[in-house]
Symmetry: C2
Subunit: 340 residues, 2 copies
Amino acid sequence: MLRPTTKDLAKAAGVSRATVDRVLNGREGVKQKTVDKVNAAIKELGFVRNIQAANLAKSKRYRFVFALPRSGDEFLRELVRHIEEAEEAFATDQIWCDVQRIDENDPHSIASFLASLSPDDASGVAIMAPESPQVRDAIFRLQERGVAAVPFISDQTTMETDSVGIDNRAAGATAALLLGRFCGAANGSVMVIAESMQSRDSLERRLGFDKELGQRFPALTALPSLETYGDEERTESIITNMLRANHNIVGIYIMSSEARVPLKILSGLQETDRLVRVAHERTPFTEKALNNGQLDCVITQNAGHLVRSAVRKLKAISDGSSTHRQQEQIRVEILLPTNL
Amino acid sequence: MLRPTTKDLAKAAGVSRATVDRVLNGREGVKQKTVDKVNAAIKELGFVRNIQAANLAKSKRYRFVFALPRSGDEFLRELVRHIEEAEEAFATDQIWCDVQRIDENDPHSIASFLASLSPDDASGVAIMAPESPQVRDAIFRLQERGVAAVPFISDQTTMETDSVGIDNRAAGATAALLLGRFCGAANGSVMVIAESMQSRDSLERRLGFDKELGQRFPALTALPSLETYGDEERTESIITNMLRANHNIVGIYIMSSEARVPLKILSGLQETDRLVRVAHERTPFTEKALNNGQLDCVITQNAGHLVRSAVRKLKAISDGSSTHRQQEQIRVEILLPTNL
DNA sequence: AAATTTCTGATGCACGTGCCTCAAAATCTG
DNA sequence: CAGATTTTGAGGCACGTGCATCAGAAATTT
């Protein structure tokens, strides 16, 4: 019933607690033979280090930094809110969380920010920034210095196992499937609106979307992606132009994580009522849009889960333990007016 | 940067650590005035009890029992799997989990099982059983004895705030919305299959389903619920009879949490290919069915989340702390072949 | 065999809290 | 005011682990 302690381990291995301690914490000056004996005992007894007690002894505290883009609209605000909530929820685990804004389009400044972090400032960092060689290198050097790091929401190919976020191809495919089915038997074309096609996330969503739409709904054609660059005027003009040029549009897929502006523009236009509209990310705005029928469906990743998963992953890396895969997989969620 | 300790509290309140301790742990023999002083200091310093250290001192271990129905098919198996996984994941928190099978239709035996639990055996129980006066009373007495208890998946009206599970009306409504939209412009009727309409869960799903279908899809009519009682032969006969009697069926809603048997029977029948099929709960079987097109959509509650949420809730009750609402709300998830 | 080096054991303090005892101080009672 | 009672303080041990020191044992080299 009780978990074995280091004392039990020592007895079982026929060594002293001091030696067990040396082995557990990888200190040198222990014969291989003795190390093996201790490891055998660990296995035999099923010893699990009591991290609470260990942290207490070390008076260890975790400080995790969320490096988030400086720009952004509602989705980002939601993230910050959830980070603050997580800070409270994890308070009993001696975990502090901070948000640090970074210039997502300036790899150099991101890299130098990461370079400035020492293990004393932060036990871990969750980084939301597009992939770039500088950032990738900075992350590696961080890890070498003993600071945990996980890519957050935006992919970094280099470290896929530890990244926190959804499978964007699956998200795109899901959007296609729902949009297609909601269109019924209609045939026509689908407008796709993105913020920018530079990021890997957008590319993957588009890839998944096209593949699924092509396979399952031959009657529907996806139009080329419109890129808003986060500029409201530009958004308005490209959308109206696209609608003018294509009279057979039956659906709209808003791929970017900030849906407010494009959707506002669409709602202002005539004759777009019958269009099936799918967007990404739960925000106060998309919730309202679902409820009043401006959106038919929202594909989202649970912002709270994202944050908590990042925290748990960072803590696990810090502790040198492993998290449970299953728990940390972020699901592609589908939001309808009925399941908000 | 450091969290204040009981020592700091004592100094701030101008009392000794012993008195702080008496106040924190609600021991008597402290003047109200002193209690107030300490509480004021707690607030002022933002003191948060270090539960890890406290548990260490008490050498507290949690044992949580999941009381699950003896009968059941794949969904229940999934639950058990997740409970075992949670046991590992929570090992570092000194938490043990056990599964105890109960006779879900015998309130008396459930009540006597609950009555047999003492705080020494279990720090908390998650109970999956239909509502009944005996069970409700037994739960109350458990709580009085200092054993935490949460209703698990199946509702107990009496203690709604602490229950772990989805909003079944929302689940039913979501099923209706998807089924309706997937049917396109067709009109006809919808077959509804349940295990039994005795349980509150089924009633609520049906309620949500009917309301949504009625409001949004006047062209579709929901037929009366077919009850399988978990009996395969019976299931087969009622389904074939229903199909024979209604030639305008366009969709099927399998409301029970075990979809395997009904769906197997449907697949064996001719002419049911074009029907839109919606079922509940993710299991190896429903996953396969989604992939090969036997099911169009699955409404589910994440079994892993359910289990972990129950554990966290039980622990929080045990600790006398509060969990964060947001995190513990179980979402109505929608599964399509693209987002498995 | 002696000297040196490498390895191991014994011991003790620390972390923050719970819980216990004993004595001292404050308050109340008659 | 004395005596009884309630309230408070001081101190110490425990939980399981990390970390440090020092002495002694074992292995290796000279």
